[in-house]
Assembly symmetry: C2
């Protein structure tokens, strides 16, 4: 093996970290809590960005860019927002360094203190709504449908690569509407864009639903979420879309003149996904050999490894491989020929398995003579012999099948780990086994908090589903009546 990976059963958390680091996705930096996203990891993130950006534009959104810094006072404007976001954050207090008068390096210049401290954005509602105030006068200026690709900083105490880092990359959509109805529709539209993306691009089955008030975004009237199940049975919140009502419009005094000539406050939404999706991708599909990437996000979809004894064989096989590569690239696939002559094929196989490349093509002297190749798929680890003739079409079909199979595997795992639980005793036992528990809840924040305090489980979402969840019952904790089941789980 190229690099040893801890198995999931031995230590799931270490397994995750091994995959991130050993597959060259990311690493810790010299700055506490901030990661370096390495080229291979960044290439996956770029593919995510590309697909999402296309989906945002298809739904009428445009990109813009707002400042990294937010004046401290802006956070005090929206009461709930300040409580949620203005706590653990990076605070800029000075704007100059100077040579240390004692001759040792540089020190902060005490004369360069800012009048008002600046916060490195943890999210941009406040700075964006202070800007929208100047953009909006009449109903003709609405809707505004902006998205921003940016870095944000939340000073997390415990960090994990991709899942929780002080700095992370994300996109944040911020829209402004004339009516509540329109804003609610936008909130729904975007959570569904996220769900489509998760399912069809990331091969990630997700449950769409509302957050309970305890778990809502600070300043939102409603938060919609997509929740995914990881292979340890924990939930991961993969994207959220918020209906913000008129809260930010009121805090920043953003009004418009409606068609009847009356002044009204503007309605808002915001929605975002982040590099956390990388964590979801790794944890839902990876196995004990390494990453398993869905073809739609794999920076390399097909890797070709020559099997040879002599240099002559190597050269002949490589020639053929470059020929095939051209053909596959013309069909739109990304292909790498591993022509390193100092490494054994077994080492290369393990390395590309670790990196999750969906399809491996091996060619030996006998294959070359026969006009065949050995095809191996990463998801099932199965192999087949295939003729070189028509290889592109075979690989097309294979990639499509892998994309589908990865989704189905994750969906099957999830289905096996969702169960209905109806009593508190059962809940306390079952929640320790992991998975999603569908339970009745009395709808109060107090009950949710009590359940969390006792079991660490939270309500991941209240699905809109009408088949399984919509039924009368009694709250597992308080016994009070409930009209629908919600999803409980322990989460990342």
């Amino acid at each position: 093996m190229a690099k040893e990976v801890t198995s999931r059963s031995e230590n799931y958390s270490q397994w995750y970290n091994d995959l991130v680091v050993k597959a060259d996705l990311a690493e810790q930096s010299a700055v506490r809590g901030c990661m370096v996203i390495k080229p291979y990891g960044y290439a996956i993130w770029e593919k995510m960005q590309h697909e999402l950006d296309k989906m945002f534009k298809e739904t009428g959104h445009v990109n813009a860019y707002f400042p990294l810094f937010i004046p401290k006072s802006f956070f005090s404007r929206e009461a709930e927002h300040v409580a949620g976001f203005a706590k653990e954050c990076a605070v800029v207090t000075h704007h100059r360094l100077m040579n240390d008068p004692n001759g040792k390096g540089v020190v902060v210049d005490p004369d360069a203190k800012l009048e008002e401290e600046l916060i490195v954005r943890p999210t941009s509602e406040t700075i964006i709504w202070s800007t929208y105030k100047n953009w909006i006068t009449s109903w003709r200026d609405l809707p505004i449908l902006c998205n921003q690709w940016a870095n944000v900083v939340r000073w997390e105490m415990r960090t994990r690569l991709f899942l929780r880092t002080a700095e992370f990359l994300w996109q944040e959509g911020h829209t402004a509407h004339a009516t509540a109805q329109e804003a609610i529709e936008e909130t729904n539209r975007m959570v569904n864009v996220y769900a489509d993306f998760a399912r069809n691009v990331m091969a990630l089955p997700v449950i769409v639903g509302h957050k309970s008030p305890n778990e809502r975004f600070a300043g939102a009237l409603d938060t919609l979420t997509i929740e995914a199940m990881m292979q340890d049975g924990k939930a991961l919140q993969a994207g959220t879309s918020h209906f913000l009502g008129q809260n930010f419009a009121k805090s920043f005094d953003v009004t418009y003149t409606n068609k009847e000539g009356k002044q009204e406050y503007v309605w808002a939404t915001s929605w975002g996904v982040s590099t956390r999706l990388m964590g979801a991708l790794i944890m839902s599909h990876g196995d004990d050999n390494g990453l398993v990437l869905p073809p739609k996000l794999a920076p390399i979809q097909v890797v070709m490894v020559p099997i040879f004894k002599t240099e002559e064989e190597h050269n002949a096989i490589l020639d053929k491989m470059y020929e095939i590569k051209k053909e596959l690239e013309a069909a739109g696939h990304s292909v790498k020929v591993d022509d390193r002559d100092t490494l054994r094929p077994g080492f290369k196989f393990a390395e590309w398995e670790l990196k999750g490349v969906p399809v491996r093509v091996a060619i030996g002297p006998r294959d070359l003579a026969n006009g065949t190749v050995e095809l191996a798929r990463r998801d099932t680890l199965t192999k087949e012999s295939a003729p070189m003739e028509g290889l592109s079409a075979r690989i097309d079909a294979l990639l499509e099948d892998i994309q589908k199979n990865i989704y189905e595997k994750a969906a099957t795992y999830r289905a096996a780990n969702i169960r209905k639980v109806d009593t508190w005793e059962e809940f306390k036992t079952e929640i320790q086994k992991g998975g999603f528990l569908l339970c009745h809840w009395d709808g109060t924040p107090e009950t949710e908090q009590a359940i969390k305090d006792e079991t660490k489980a939270t309500i991941r979402c209240i699905p809109e589903d009408t088949v399984v969840c919509e039924e009368e019952g009694k709250c597992i904790y308080s016994g009070k009546p409930s009209s629908r089941r919600v999803v409980f789980a322990i989460s990342y």
Copy 2:
């Protein structure tokens, strides 16, 4: 007119600002020195990014992402770098806010002081080379060819939208090589990528050359630059590529084992262009009616404006326009139909001229009957009638011609404003008229500084050109011998 634009002759600086703000490219934000890039401006930047990113990848580079924050001590490691960059910068000193004990908003929590201050990156050499140390062991790990798209912050006292802002967006390439020769080749390769991009995409004629030691990047052994002439005759540095020697490798102790088994320090380059390019684009092509965008960067290449009296006419023309739009889009053009029914055509014409849309298509009832359209080009403000039949091909040719013409116009302007100057008296007069002066210089920093102190002019670059510049002569200031002319100008 939709919005009044100051003319260039009246006030060039105000004209520039009018274009940026009134064409909806960018605006000042609530944070001193930080701008908001508005959707129309950001769409142009996205196109620049897209083209550049493609060129970087074609030359073998990959993208990655490094932390926003840099520990203060890192800046002290490279002696010249600290002098150049660790001065005016944003310093993070705390990581938490708390509720004001006096009940007024939030204040910085004095208990959350960082042990070591963090600097918001003004450029990333230090944090990247501290990372490369872990990536490089042997010659097999080289070269490393990384690029990063990111925001950076330099605390500028006087800011101008796009040209000089506290926060700006850019890309920074950071490469590591086994030999000086390879690093020098990379430095050259990338300045030529920038020159190609400027000329062929931005329609911007640029001069490629070396910076004089006074104007070099802090920590570089050599800086290559592309310099463009704006319409006021001033120079704008549009992109730079630095040969950093082994300075950063030595500061961060980055060595590799060469093929002979010996430890060697690694050789470095870095290169970058920023949202400053937006400023160059606006100032080199714009006219008194507004922006003039090269078709390759125009978010809207063709705008269609209906001319009508009755609603019936409006509808019939719009139907035709949507039909034509489809056809043009299929040919790869971006097209907008301006179907706003509350605005007069004259108003719309002025608005799209202000926004620099290369081609305008107007259709009136008579055109509709005749199967013709009125085509207007933004660069020359000329109009022609064209048959609807074959319109796509006509527009293809027109866009290509506009791209070419804009470049030629700028090149002609530049040619008219470059002149050889051979005496100090003449220099002092000529430099006030603007333009580039080709002069002999004795090669000393003292002379360059003296010329700058007296005239504000600096050496923009030392071109490698062998036709015009390579000749024996005498320094305009000191009279000492010189073997080549260099480019002097007053710059942005």
